[in-house]
Symmetry: C2
Subunit: 304 residues, 2 copies
Amino acid sequence: MSLLVIGTVAFDAIETPFGKTDKIVGGSATFASLGASYFYDKIKIVAVVGDDFPQHEIEDLQNHNVNTEGLQIKQGEKSFFWSGRYHNDMNSRDTLVTELNVLEAFDPIIPDSYQDCEYLMLGNLSPQVQQTVINRLKNRPKLIVMDTMNFWMDIALDELLKTIQMVDVLTINDAEARQLSGEFSLVKAARKILTMGPKYLIIKKGEHGALLFHENQIFSAPALPLAEVFDPTGAGDTFAGGFIGYMAKVGTVNFNNMKNAIIFGSALASFCVEKFGSERLRNLSEEEIANRIQEFVGLAKFEL
Amino acid sequence: MSLLVIGTVAFDAIETPFGKTDKIVGGSATFASLGASYFYDKIKIVAVVGDDFPQHEIEDLQNHNVNTEGLQIKQGEKSFFWSGRYHNDMNSRDTLVTELNVLEAFDPIIPDSYQDCEYLMLGNLSPQVQQTVINRLKNRPKLIVMDTMNFWMDIALDELLKTIQMVDVLTINDAEARQLSGEFSLVKAARKILTMGPKYLIIKKGEHGALLFHENQIFSAPALPLAEVFDPTGAGDTFAGGFIGYMAKVGTVNFNNMKNAIIFGSALASFCVEKFGSERLRNLSEEEIANRIQEFVGLAKFEL
């Protein structure tokens, strides 16, 4: 029984109105596994890095209950690198540099010890690679959550649609839901996407929270209104990781547990944006998380 | 004891992607008083129309418990007329025609029988006129709610700021909160606006719901995800009217009652957008409203 996280482990260089970083560790699998680690302790990661990736960063993942047997280290190659600059509104950004490096020929090898996977988080990555991971698991996991982005809709829509068919939960943002469905109304977009394979759809709306759709049910989760968003990088990955980590913890897949999982994922994402990269996710205390959850409860509660 | 609604009673001609209307009855006071009428039955209106305004429309307001003694009918003059075209996203619109007509020299006369006003809804209108109404009331109402828009921030900011100082609750949308405060973060914007006079601030976010700010408390209300938004005209006025109508009904001004008032206001606004103009607000049943409220409860509820 374990939670398998697939995605990127990479370097980011980030500019926001608050400052700028040199290369720091990022990547969808990094954020998602750190997010999940606060709720579940049997996390296994499949990803690839170059020999430029610091050993102590791998050890830090291990210290967060992340099994790194499936983390491939390619000698003589460099890790994936992304650099971006956020605009003042923090909702839009320009990509300055994308160096695929080790990602170009990434073959996601699943160690035998990972075949006990019950929960599978397909972090943002090429849909072809996401699909390969599903196909290489001998038993279909109990819950497959897939995160993706507009980039794959633009360049690999057919592969994306094939992969979407195979998953239980799809997480995308509102613009992506509109792009994928061709519908402006999110209700209509969700109806259409729920015919494409996933039984659950989570539409992430950033500062406006998230919507969960399943059959005819809808849940609207608030976002915590924040005075400062320091760096949004990784917030979506952290949300997804927190979501599936909580689902793995409770162990029963249903709409009510998913509602709570969205609140836990949102809480972790709200920490993520407080500092550059994954820094804030490195040492959260249980008390900090519990207090943050109570803020969400207070924020959304009314008695009618 | 009554609820006084001040604002416009007017004609609108509307184009949306779904169709187009001839002149139909609109105006902030029309929508707000109809919205309030579902919760409270002592509504008094102050507004002005020309002699082109149909008598049966005035009677329809009266049939919704709206006292029209303060509705001035200017002989030989024409009613305020606005025409607009909504874009496909329904969030933005172009104004095609604005004919102020009777509004140009509107002097808001308060009938003596209105001096029992306990709840005052300042619907969207020139801040100078809104202020005059406050000054003409012999006793300060228990609760003053003010709605306004970016137009007044652009052309009458000083008057607007003076009026804002005098009210308890300000309702504006997110772009307007940013414009008024000069802050991008809505939390910072709210903090600043709460130093300008109002004790409560409601930031309307359209399809993303609404935020209520008071001291250090925040409430995040969901919006009902809708498959079709037929015509958004008047939704904000209806929200404000439903909000203050519910507050007048419960009679105690506090944060918890305001949370519920926001849900009731949002429910009425969700009906408003289902048809052109105020048509859907003319004949709502108690059962329809109760069911809609239950949809909001189901949408937002989680157990943590």
